[in-house]
């Protein structure tokens, strides 16, 4: 009984991390019509930056925010100076993000070496809360709480602000949005930076629990990909549901069928592709 509960708690916190990662991925896909193959790299680079900041004895939350800030800048520069050059050529843009992801991976290997880094869980977030006879590790719950707060924030932004309305218009139909005077290319930069920042923030949040190591980028990228194929592109609700679904599948699959855990992860994606290609909450895929 306790094993299952532990698994469930782990699933929920992994789901929270995945949501932070895939919300940006989903918005970028929805708006720019490209899967950003750099997204796993943002997660990993962000985690490494956070780890370095923690080594300087910077407060955990400050480190996470600094890393996210640095990534906002990097993401913005990539969009503004590289992707923008290839505007309208989706395929070239995707391949560009792929090429950049190799560069990021190698640069990280150069700077942070091949050894895994696992920062200690920040002191004030250690321990567990007791509910009845059950213990819940605080840090896992904190990840979940942060994911919920950010989900609500994103939802408020998308559904209730002028900026959100512009983003929604861009996701629905970028050419028309342009015609009615929305500066879609500025939205691209903004969303790309935001996605990078969220991924980096998730990377730092995840570091004490997943640790950071070479190859983490291409482990996280497919997860974001599955979440978005499952949930449907450009749909925050889809990203949320997909993230938790994958969080559960990953942890329970690992425990029950360790050999095939990775395959089990992809099964729902294949089912969705065959039965409902637009994703659970999405409209038609491009």
């Amino acid at each position: 009984m306790n094993l299952w509960l532990t698994l469930a708690v782990n699933s929920i916190s992994l789901g929270g991390l995945l949501f932070l990662l895939s919300a940006g991925f989903s918005l970028i896909f929805g708006l720019m019509r490209i899967p950003n193959l750099l997204h796993g790299s943002f997660f990993m680079l962000g985690a490494y930056l956070g780890v370095s900041a923690l080594n300087w004895h910077i407060n955990f939350w400050v480190a996470a925010l600094l890393s996210a800030l640095a990534m906002t800048l990097i993401g913005g520069l990539i969009e503004r100076f590289l992707l923008r050059r290839l505007a309208g050529q989706e395929l070239a843009q995707v391949l560009l993000t792929l090429g950049l992801s190799f560069i990021v991976a190698d640069v990280c290997l150069m700077i942070w070496t091949g050894d895994p880094w696992q920062p200690a869980t920040p002191e004030h977030l250690r321990g567990a809360v007791q509910v009845g006879t059950l213990f819940f590790p605080i840090y896992r719950l904190v990840i979940l709480a942060v994911a919920i707060v950010i989900a609500i924030g994103l939802w408020l932004m998308i559904d209730w602000t002028r900026l959100g309305a512009m983003i929604r218009a861009g996701v629905d139909d970028a050419p028309i949005a342009r015609v009615v005077g929305i500066k879609v290319s500025q939205l691209f930069t903004l969303i790309f930076s935001l996605g990078a920042a969220l991924a980096a923030f998730a990377g730092v949040m995840g570091a004490p629990y997943l640790s950071v190591y070479p190859g983490l980028d291409f482990e996280m990228l497919p997860l974001a990909l599955i979440v978005v194929i499952l949930g449907g592109t450009g749909s925050l609700l889809g990203a949320l549901v997909g993230s938790f679904l994958i969080g559960f599948l990953y942890n329970f699959g690992q425990a029950m069928f360790p050999d095939l855990a990775y395959v089990i992860l992809f099964l729902p994606m294949l089912l969705v592709l065959v039965l409902r290609p637009q994703g659970l909450f999405g409209r038609a895929m491009p």
């Binding site: 560009l96 190698d106 360790p258 050999d259 095939l260």
Partner: protein, 330 residues
């Protein structure tokens, strides 16, 4: 029409160079590099069927090559003969390609690319995690190369010639394929899929068959790969591996016969040269990728032809010869 056209002369010269290569190269290390170029060229030619002629960009093809390699390696390790293992490997790869096609053809364009990427990762995941079957990260050793008709392929020379034969077979079938009605149909589905349907073509089936053809040659390349290295590990099925082949196709120039071959040569040589001096191959790969996509999206072969033509025109103008601007219409 004369017997010795420039094109035929070039083909003859290239053939002669390839056949005599072990003689004038001498050093087994470089002969091995040449073998690598050839089997990667087979792989790239296979991928080019769908990327160049079908307009379907796959980031999961290393998975298909790995399936062939692993099937053969595991069967060999279980004590089966070379012929039966290789035959089974190709059959399994074709079956896998069929599944690959059915799933990936649920999307087109970017959707197709995403699905192939996901499938490639699944294959990698199986090879890496299912260690009771695949021996996980430790990989599988292949105990020896086959000896078709009693000729041992153990030496660098003999393996080179065997690879050359397969390579020439691939080039010949591709050359025929691209001029064939089916090749034209495939190109049609790339340019105007909807129109092709209206003209009576079964677009889905054409793409499906193209993926099978492409999967077949990927499988053949996978077999050559394991016999060359006498070892296979999940490394073969990584996204990096898929991206490398795609880079070969794109860098050389898609939808040409020569492009993927040139691309394979460039990437393999770069990889060997670069890794001799620095360990940063991925960095170099990424940088080349970015540079080519940004500055020479049509690929090096068509790009160089374009530059060459411009240079030639300028040169001839300087000599006072005015070149014909357009080809005369017959």
């Amino acid at each position: 029409m004369s017997f010795l056209t420039p094109q035929r002369a070039a083909i003859a010269a290239a053939l002669l160079l390839l056949v005599t290569l072990p003689i004038w190269v001498g050093n087994p290390y470089y002969i091995n590099v040449a073998s690598q170029i050839l089997f990667f060229a087979v792989f790239a030619l296979g991928l080019n069927v769908i990327v160049g002629y079908g307009g379907l960009v796959s980031l999961g093809h290393a998975g298909l090559a790995a399936i062939a390699g692993y099937t053969a390696a595991l069967m060999l390790a279980a004590g089966h003969g070379h012929f039966i293992s290789d035959f089974a490997a190709i059959l399994v790869t074709l079956a896998a390609s069929a599944v690959f096609a059915v799933l990936s053809l649920r999307g087109t364009g970017i959707g197709f690319l995403m699905i192939t990427l996901a499938i490639g990762q699944i294959i990698w995941g199986i090879l890496y995690r299912w260690s009771s079957l695949t021996n996980g990260d430790n990989g599988v050793n292949v105990s020896g190369r086959p000896a078709p008709f009693g000729i041992s392929l153990a030496s660098a020379d003999s393996f080179y010639y065997a690879t050359l034969l397969v390579f020439l077979a691939a080039v010949a079938t591709m050359a025929v394929f691209f001029r064939s009605p089916f090749g034209a149909s495939l190109r049609g589905t790339r340019d105007q899929a909807r129109r092709m349907t209206a003209l009576g073509y079964n677009v889905w089936l054409i793409r499906f068959l193209a993926i099978l053809i492409s999967g077949f040659w990927s499988g053949v390349a996978g077999l050559l790969f394991i016999y060359y290295n006498q070892f296979i590990s999940p490394q073969v099925a990584t996204l990096t591996a898929s991206a490398e082949v795609l880079l070969m196709v794109i860098s050389g120039g898609t939808a040409t016969l020569l492009g993927p071959i040139a691309g394979a040569a460039i990437v393999v040589i770069m990889k060997n040269v670069v890794s001799a001096y620095i360990v940063r191959w991925n960095l170099v790969l990424g940088v080349i990728f970015v540079l080519i996509i940004t500055f020479m999206p049509e690929g090096l072969v068509p790009g160089s032809v374009r530059l060459w033509r411009t240079a030639w025109r300028k040169l001839s103008r300087r000599d006072g010869v005015i070149p014909a601007k357009t080809e005369p219409t017959p």
